[in-house]
Amino acid sequence: MAIVVSTLNNPWFVFLAERAAAKAKELGYESKIFDSQNNTSLETDHFENAISSGYDAVLFNPTDADGSVVNVKNATAAGIPVFCMDREINSSGAATSQILSDSYSGCVTIAKYFVETLNKKGKYVELLGLVGDNNTWNRSKGFHSVVDHYPGLKMVAQQSADFDRNKAMEVLESILQANPDIDAVFCGNDAMAMGAYQALVASGKAGKVKVFGFDGAEDVVKSIQDGKIIATGMQFPEVMAQTAAMMADQYFKGKRDFPKKMPVAVEMVKKDNVENYAAYGKK
């Protein structure tokens, strides 16, 4: 099995890839992990490599909802099933199945807590992920489907930081120059939440500005315990990775009738329930 992952520069995706490889091995298959480095062209090279090298299935974490469709179609045309993990492509029939976190619902839950925590008023910043990824927009839309009903909550900046910790720190540092009086930051993933928290520490605002993330990464779960981050949406990458590998196994054994989309529920983690959770899933 070829395991093609959007980036290995984020521990969450490293975990996703490693869990997929571990499950493939457990099921008796060889696998290799390919890092697309958030670059659709490099992803295309990996797919061409996978097709020409005779891989039998691709467990796939796409870089771009639209840009990755052609890679999936090429693999499918070559008779290689593709199982998307965590990130969606904008084609309902191209992939054999897509196992996706229910990011929208998770962010609706976080947003309700965001509104309650801020008592329906204040200034906030939103840090978006990769603009071409549907998860970015499902999270943002889930969040805004709640927050936008409260005119007392004013978004003073909405910028992409590409799901990247360092970029999030730089972006928020820049935003803080013009908006030093913000009350909260909503981040589309935990790497950006940690970057945002670093920027707040550097500016002496840690503890005064509430930070919300999404993923359930190890450092954020610990930061919630320590009171540094308010909440995150716990995704279950191991469930997604294992489901993708098991579906590939079933495909090899003749099964063809897979659900085109398989959502995985997201659960909110906050100070009063953090004891139920560990990084990337439940204890």
Binding site: S92, D102, Y104, S105, V108, S145, T243, A265, N276
Partner: protein, 209 residues
């Protein structure tokens, strides 16, 4: 003189080309414009045609809570729906009870039942999320090209609730009123807690004795 006219004309031309070449839009506005799916129309049809038959089979909330205590697996297996994998499940419920308090974000109700008689909250402020869409069990994610269209259906269903269900109830309800309610609730199967149940309402009636 001709040079000046040429110069001015060139500057104007460059200005017009530049003005028409660059547009500034919010990122979310650009993304919001990429779908042609009629979520409001879909939600309206769901509300009027698909949801009522499901609501007629909703379980009485006291009966559900009793079953959760005696046979949790059966309760989830028989009455919950969810779209995929995970512990978060949704139920369609109904019941009647006495209003205990009318607060900013919800009303509190002491349920009348032959079974469990819990005190529950009915959301009147935070009506968000997929509880009603998913509890019905009749909308299939695989019928949608992308998940954004699918999620917009929930946003429109919630809009119907906020505009049609809650205002006429909220404007009249007071402590001590006897009410009928139906709606959707969310429960986490692994970390089950029935102490603070919140109903997203689909129907609210003050009962005249």
């Amino acid at each position: 003189m001709k040079k000046v006219i040429k110069y001015i004309a060139s500057v104007l031309l460059v200005g017009i080309v530049a003005y028409n070449s660059v547009y500034f839009k919010k990122l979310d506005e650009v993304k919001a414009g990429t779908t042609s799916f009629d979520a409001a129309g879909y939600a309206g049809k769901f509300w009027n045609e698909k949801l009522p038959p499901r609501l007629s089979k909703a379980i009485e909330i006291g009966e559900l809570l009793t079953l959760l205590q005696t046979d949790k697996e059966k309760a989830f297996m028989t009455y919950s729906h969810a779209l995929g994998i995970g512990n978060v499940k949704y139920f369609l419920v109904k019941g009647s009870g006495i209003i205990q308090s009318v607060d900013e974000n919800q009303v509190s109700v002491k349920v009348e039942s032959e079974n469990e008689k819990p005190e529950i909250n009915i959301a009147t402020e935070y009506v968000f999320g997929n509880a009603v869409r998913d509890a019905s069990g009749v909308i299939d994610i695989n019928a949608f090209v992308n998940s954004m269209d699918f999620n917009n259906v929930s946003a429109e269903i919630n809009k119907i609730i906020r505009e049609k269900v809650i205002p006429p109830f909220r404007s009249k309800v007071k402590k001590g009123d006897r009410i009928f309610f139906s709606g959707a609730i969310e429960l986490n199967k692994e970390h089950l807690s029935t102490r603070s149940i919140e109903v997203i309402p689909t129907d609210l009636k003050i009962i005249k004795d």
